[in-house]
């Protein structure tokens, strides 16, 4: 999957170097993501997964390298401009706005200030996808359970009708049954034509939904390939993910 073989990439990250404060976190990462695909970045804690997501979203801009989205340069653009270009973020820890009701949380990306994009997702469509949220429309976002907050965070991202959704550890802190549900939500989202760039510690989730996987270790990609190829790379599983062979 070389760059030249993938001219139709939705997202193209080339050689980014990102610092978090003084620490040199991402040391020259490149990634290609086709439209409508799920790409997962796997890795242990502290290896730079969240920083990668934040680099793409413009929240922690890379110092070097370039990020292209639908052919346009993203580097140097503000986070709000990147979001308006069609990239939505489901951040680590959900970050639901606690002073807002569920309804207000969902409607936030449709505010005129956000230059909303039209598409298939509106309040009705999101509530059809997540019926539990419909019963809680007037509750505070802070009053929801972890699973409901995750649905709200995904619903909020969908309301922007993005081409790409960045998901940072969506399974974190969820009960196993909900983790499965998060996986099927991602597959639904893909079925509707949105691409998902997923960052995960949860090996099973990433393996079951991703079309393509990158493994990050100490700020570098040490593997890229399909889930099936990762299955056949015991040294990567063992050294960089700590997954026992029998487990996979």
């Amino acid at each position: 999957m070389s760059i030249s073989a993938m001219p139709e990439s939705l997202l193209s990250v080339r050689g980014i170097h990102t610092y978090y404060g003084d620490s040199y976190v991402l040391q020259g990462l490149s990634l290609e993501q086709p439209e409508g695909s799920i790409v997962a970045i796997l890795g242990r804690n502290g290896m730079g997964k969240t920083t990668f997501i934040r680099s793409v979203a413009g929240l922690t801009p890379p110092r070097q390298g370039e990020i292209r989205f639908k052919g346009a340069q993203l580097s140097g653009r503000a986070p709000y401009a990147i979001a308006q270009a069609g990239i939505a973020l489901v951040p680590q820890g959900r970050r639901i706005f606690r002073s807002l009701s569920v309804r207000e949380n969902l409607l936030l990306p449709t505010s005129g200030l956000a230059r909303p994009r039209r598409g298939r997702w509106n309040l009705e469509a999101v509530l059809e996808q997540f019926p539990q949220l419909a019963e809680r429309m007037h509750h505070s976002g802070a009053a929801l359970s972890g699973g409901e907050q995750q649905m709200l965070a995904v619903g909020r991202a969908l309301m922007a009708n993005p081409d790409l959704i960045l998901m940072d550890e969506p399974s974190e802190g969820l009960a196993p049954k909900l983790v499965q549900q998060v996986g099927s939500i991602m597959q639904d989202v893909r079925a509707h034509g949105h691409a998902v760039l997923l960052v995960e510690q949860n090996f099973e989730v990433a393996m079951s939904v991703a079309d393509y996987i990158y493994v990050v270790s100490a700020g570098r990609f040490v593997f890229e390939g399909t889930p099936a190829e990762l299955e056949r790379a015991p040294e990567v599983l063992d050294q960089h993910l700590g997954v026992a062979r029998a487990h996979a």
């Binding site: 929240l59 986070p79 709000y80 979001a83 973020l89 970050r95 200030l113 230059r115 909303p116």
Partner: protein, 286 residues
């Protein structure tokens, strides 16, 4: 008994004035963590501009609108070209905005002089109201209470019931995530800040008609406004309402019952509150 009632009205009318000044201050702080110590100077210059407008046109309504608008415009440039450069550095913000306040104070001294000046309230707002029990009270102070309540309700509806209000609340919660949702928080802040400046200028005109305007008034009123914001909790509109009432009433009753200790009556309970609830009544951890 009569005095107790009079002091209550005194306190509530001062509260109305303090709310006008503190509500904008607390919202702009909540959204951008900007500490604007020039807010007292905005009050004073707004009052002076209103005074000149009232003297030239004879219209108190124009004075209120013009004083507010002049400060909103000036505040915009101060935000855009000075405060914006300080980023997240609070110490730099405090030094810068204190400096701005001194400059505004000196300019005002040059233009309007050092005497106590009173914004002329229109004839129909002058005079006294007779309350049940034969209590006479200045009509203007009641109007001020109505203005405070009106602005309070309007702000509350704007903040709690509109989509733009929801965006501001979201920005107070988590500015970065609002940015990542496609909303230019800096632009939003310009709007909130202009509203805050407008209210400060409006307060200067309203306050100048009974507290008078004079060099140094900006610092006196700033201390009260800061206390309101700190008691209520930074970033909370409800906090600014309750905080203004507490400060207004403590001030009025303190001056009446313990005139020698009136500052202690105001600041003593607030020092206690800060010990047990440093984030204020409605504030959050920052």
């Amino acid at each position: 008994m009569t005095s107790a009632i009079l002091q209550a009205i005194n306190g509530v009318s001062l509260a109305a004035l303090l709310f006008l000044l503190a509500s904008g201050f607390t919202l702009s702080f909540g959204l951008m963590r900007v500490v604007n110590m020039a807010h007292g100077a905005y009050y004073l210059i707004g009052g002076y501009v209103g005074l000149s407008i009232a003297e030239h046109t004879g219209s108190f309504a124009l004075a209120l609108a013009g004083g507010g608008a002049a400060v909103a415009l000036g505040g915009f440039f101060i935000d855009r070209f000075l405060i914006r450069r300080t980023g997240e550095n609070h110490l730099a913000q405090v030094l810068l905005t204190v400096g701005v306040a001194f400059v505004i104070g000196d300019v005002a001294l040059q233009i309007w002089g050092g005497d106590n000046l009173m914004v002329p309230a229109p004839q129909q707002l002058k005079g006294a109201v007779v309350l049940p029990g034969g209590i006479y009270y200045p009509k203007y102070r009641f109007i001020l209470i109505f203005l405070g309540v009106f602005v309070g309700i309007a702000l509350w509806l704007l903040y709690k019931k509109t989509q733009i209000g929801a965006v501001v609340r979201a920005g107070v919660d988590d500015r970065e995530q609002v940015n990542a949702t496609g909303i230019n928080v800096d632009r939003l802040f310009v709007m909130v800040s202009a509203l805050a400046s407008f209210l400060a200028g409006l307060a200067g005109v309203a306050g100048g008609a009974f507290l008078t305007l004079y060099p140094g008034a900006e610092w006196e009123i700033l201390v009260y406004a800061l206390v309101v914001v700190i008691v209520g909790g930074l970033g909370s509109l409800e906090g600014a309402m309750i905080g203004a009432l507490i400060v207004g009433l403590l001030d009025a009753y303190g001056r009446w019952l313990l005139p020698e200790f009136s500052y202690f009556v105001l600041f003593g309970p607030i020092a206690l509150l800060m010990i047990f609830r440093p984030r204020g009544l409605f504030g959050r951890e920052h």
